[in-house]
């Protein structure tokens, strides 16, 4: 355990909390990008460089951009109203539920006899990863490829919507 790890953790959790609690949507997205970077930093610290780069590329690079677009696109909506009594009670119940989950998780972790091997991080080269992906995990890779394609098409269809402008499904 070292100070770097603690720092990474604190920053990540802190920005995440701020992002979730913030009033301004844009700020939230930016803060979240920070949190994702923190996660990437953790990966780096743990020795998983490739995962870290993937995290940065996908989350910080791609997803946060897409989310920003979405935020901008939906901006004209009647924005989140002032949190009325219903909103407050919902926030309260949400925090309670989350706290309960956290409590259970932490309790479970602390009670479990987890034997950590103190050795150095297993070294994984990108070549190794590539061989793994094209070897034993080829089928999974294909499946993910299909999934991404389908998701892409689905997203396009959904976002493009119907040309007529009529509401789509009548129940």
């Amino acid at each position: 355990m070292n100070a770097v790890l603690i720092l990474i953790a604190l920053v990540t959790v802190g920005t995440a909390i701020a992002a979730m609690a913030g009033r301004n949507l844009l700020h939230s997205v930016l803060l979240l990008a920070l949190a994702w970077t923190g996660v990437a930093a953790f990966y780096l610290w743990a020795g998983a460089e490739f995962a870290a780069f993937a995290q940065v590329l996908v989350y910080v690079g791609a997803i946060s951009m897409v989310v920003l677009f979405a935020v901008l696109l939906t901006r004209r909506s009647r924005d989140e109203a002032a949190p009325g009594p219903a909103g407050q009670s919902r926030a309260l119940s949400a925090v309670m539920a989350a706290a309960a989950v956290a409590g259970v998780l932490v309790g479970a972790i602390l009670r479990s006899p987890l034997a950590a091997s103190p050795g150095p991080a297993p070294a994984v080269t990108v070549r190794q990863l590539g061989a793994e992906l094209m070897g034993p995990y080829a089928a999974a890779l294909l499946a993910v490829g299909v999934l991404l394609t389908v998701a892409l098409i689905g997203a396009v269809v959904l976002a493009a919507g119907d040309r007529t402008g009529q509401p789509e499904d009548n129940p």
Partner: protein, 673 residues
């Protein structure tokens, strides 16, 4: 010369006629009736040839078996049987049927479904002949059921009348109760012996080797296996032959056209039960070797027969419907036959069966002639005075009446009844049946006198009766022929010349001098005279004047009269118990189906529903403060599901979180590994 292997032709001919009748269009009246009568005549000729063959060697059982289909390592086999018992029955059935068919030509002339009637009649005759010539209890059962369905169709022939439709259903269901017993008896016998063939070169169920094996088997309750099987088979016989307590359908069956009543409910179908017991008599008698048995099958047969004989006779006294009097008299006479079987004299039973077929068919056809002439008036109180307008019918009916009443020496009924009385008096188990038959003799003579007087004497008591004319030749000639038979047939089996008996058993029976059992014969003559005299005194001397005048006996004992007139309330009793029990079970089954099983099976679904309810209650109650008024509806199945489906993503997520916590706590604290 006909052999057992050709015997199938006898039922096949009428079956062919039935097929022709079924396929001809409605207008093909001539073709359908012609085919039916021709087929019946052919069957009669074949039967006579068969009888000739059988009498050539009366002790032999000629049979021809064949494989129906393979089953397991063995096969299910059926066969045809020819012996004097069969042959006599065949001749009787074909002859009486032929006459009834001819009679129907006139009786049913105006009916729109004329050709259908002959089709059904032929089907019935074919099935009945199948019962007779079968050498396999399975084939017998098959034909037996076909007899049932044909009688169902014939009783309900005037199906547009609700009463006829109901009577047909009642007849079928009541006999079916018995038939189920029969079926169980069959499968038991099949299981116990591995065969249902009656004669099969030593392996048939009526042959001594098999019966001997069977008689050694005893159930845990102490009942011998042959006894139990016999009693189950007897259920079937009792159902078809209208024995107590399954006799209730027979009087109702009079809703059918009168030729049907004559054919089915006098000569053939109801006799099938008696024939069945006579056919498998060795099986019924197999338990006689077991002196220790708690019950002998034949004892039960005798008891049921005696009860039925007495019951039918008593009820017949108080009936006002022409056909119903005859119906109850049939019940009573069938009781006599069963009694004869029970006391061991199956020959006597068959003798009475044959004579009864003639005189009862005669009586029914006579009644039919009366009804036809009187425009379907059947109430004897509204008839009267027909002896003048319907001479032939009156004479033949009187012959039949005297044969039934057992008027001595000339009429056949006297001799056959005499044989039964003789056998009953010699039965060493109990004398009660004998006394019952004696009472029955008086009552029979009495109610038949009453019937004859009411219908034919005095003045017509309704316009229909007043305008009655003699029926056409096509109806009266069969009456005359049957009347001759009703007289002549008795002489085949008198004690002086027991030709029929010796031919049936296959062993010569020594003739007894007429007066050897003179005491008994004298007694029966006295009793018949008593009945006739009482009947004459009450109904003949003082003729009923109006249709509404009370019966002399009703005036004397109105409540008893009403009780008897209501057929001793058997139908009400059954309606109050069995029918109601049946309806209750049906309602219970339906209720279980609609309410209980669905829920029991859907328990898991209900559990899910319960969690849905809890979840929505939790939302409403704990978080939003206050129950929603609509929570009354929660208990309804679908509603509860949909309440869980709030459509609110947060709700789902929250449920997930709570469930996760609960599960995790369960794992952590509960120690579930």
């Amino acid at each position: 010369m006909i052999d057992a292997a050709h015997l199938w032709l006898i039922p096949a001919l009428p079956l062919l006629a039935a097929g022709i009748g079924a396929l001809t269009p409605r207008s093909g009246r001539r073709l359908a009736s012609g085919a039916a009568i021709a087929a019946m005549a052919g069957a009669f000729l074949l039967s006579c040839l068969a009888l000739q063959r059988a009498l050539a060697d009366p002790a032999a059982h000629l049979y021809a078996n064949f494989t129906w289909f393979e089953l397991g390592d063995g096969a299910v086999r059926l066969g045809w049987l020819l012996d004097p018992l069969n042959a006599f029955m065949c001749v009787m059935v074909t002859f009486v049927s032929l006459l009834i068919f001819i009679f129907s030509l006139g009786y049913m002339k105006e009916d729109a479904n004329f050709k259908q009637f002959f089709c059904f009649l032929s089907l019935f005759a074919a099935a009945m002949l199948g019962v007779i010539v079968a050498n396999s209890l399975l084939l017998l059962f098959i034909s037996w059921e076909l007899v049932g369905v044909a009688s169902y169709l014939l009783i309900g022939f005037w199906f547009h009348k609700p009463a006829a439709a109901a009577a047909a259903k009642k007849a079928f269901l009541t006999t079916r109760i018995g038939d189920l017993g029969f079926l169980l008896g069959l499968v038991w016998l099949y299981d116990a012996t591995g065969s249902l063939l009656l004669f099969d070169g030593g392996h048939g169920v009526l042959e001594s080797g098999v019966l001997g094996d069977l008689a050694t088997q005893v159930l845990a309750s102490g009942l011998a296996v042959p006894t139990a099987i016999s009693l189950l088979i007897f259920c079937g016989a009792a159902g078809k032959s209208g024995q107590f307590p399954l006799h209730v359908w027979l009087p109702d069956a009079m809703e059918g056209p009168t030729p049907v009543s004559a054919l089915i409910h006098a000569a053939t179908m109801v006799a099938a039960g008696v024939f069945l017991v006579a056919r498998v008599f060795p099986l019924f008698a197999a338990d006689q070797v077991l002196a220790a048995g708690p019950l002998h099958a034949l004892t039960v047969v005798a008891a049921i027969g005696a009860i039925t004989a007495l019951l039918g006779a008593v009820i017949a006294v108080a009936q006002d419907d022409l056909k119903r009097v005859l119906a109850f008299s049939t019940v009573s006479q069938l009781g006599y036959m069963m009694l004869a079987l029970g006391v061991g004299s199956w020959v006597g039973a068959i003798f009475h069966l044959l004579t009864h077929a003639f005189f009862k068919a005669l009586l029914f056809l006579g009644a039919g002639s009366v009804i036809h002439a009187a425009h379907h008036e059947q109430d004897i109180r509204r008839l009267g005075g027909l002896s003048r307008s319907m001479r032939t019918t009156f004479v033949t009916f009187a012959v039949g009446m005297m044969a039934l009443a057992g008027v001595p020496f000339v009429f056949s009924g006297f001799w056959s009844k005499e044989a039964i009385l003789h056998a009953a008096s010699e039965w060493d188990v109990s004398h009660l049946p004998f006394y019952a038959t004696l009472i029955g003799v008086v009552l029979t003579a009495f109610y038949m006198t009453r019937l004859l007087c009411e219908v034919f004497r005095g003045a017509p008591r309704s316009p229909a009766a007043a305008h009655a004319h003699e029926s056409p030749r096509v109806m009266t000639i069969p009456l005359a022929v049957l009347a001759i038979g009703a007289v002549a047939l008795g002489f085949l089996g008198t004690p002086v010349w027991p030709w029929l008996q010796s031919r049936l058993t296959g062993t010569p029976i020594p003739a007894r001098p007429l007066l050897e059992g003179g005491g008994l014969m004298g007694l029966s003559i006295v009793l018949v005279a008593l009945g006739l005299g009482a009947g004459w005194a009450l109904y003949g001397r003082r003729v009923r004047l109006t249709a509404t005048a009370p019966d002399p006996l009703a005036a004397a004992a109105p409540r008893t009269w009403a009780f008897l007139g209501d057929r001793m309330k058997f139908d009400s009793l059954y309606a109050a118990t069995l029918v109601r029990l049946n309806a209750f079970v049906a309602a219970l089954a339906d209720f279980l189906d609609r309410r209980v099983w669905g829920s029991a099976v859907g328990f898991l679904a209900r559990f899910a529903e319960f969690t849905g309810v809890v979840n929505s209650e939790f939302d409403d109650g704990a978080l939003n403060g206050g129950f929603n008024a609509a929570s009354e509806d929660i208990r309804r199945t679908g509603r509860a599901y949909s309440r869980a489906q709030t459509g609110e993503t947060h709700g789902y997520l929250r449920t997930l979180a709570i469930a996760f916590v609960a599960l995790a706590l369960l794992v952590l604290l509960g120690g579930v590994r």
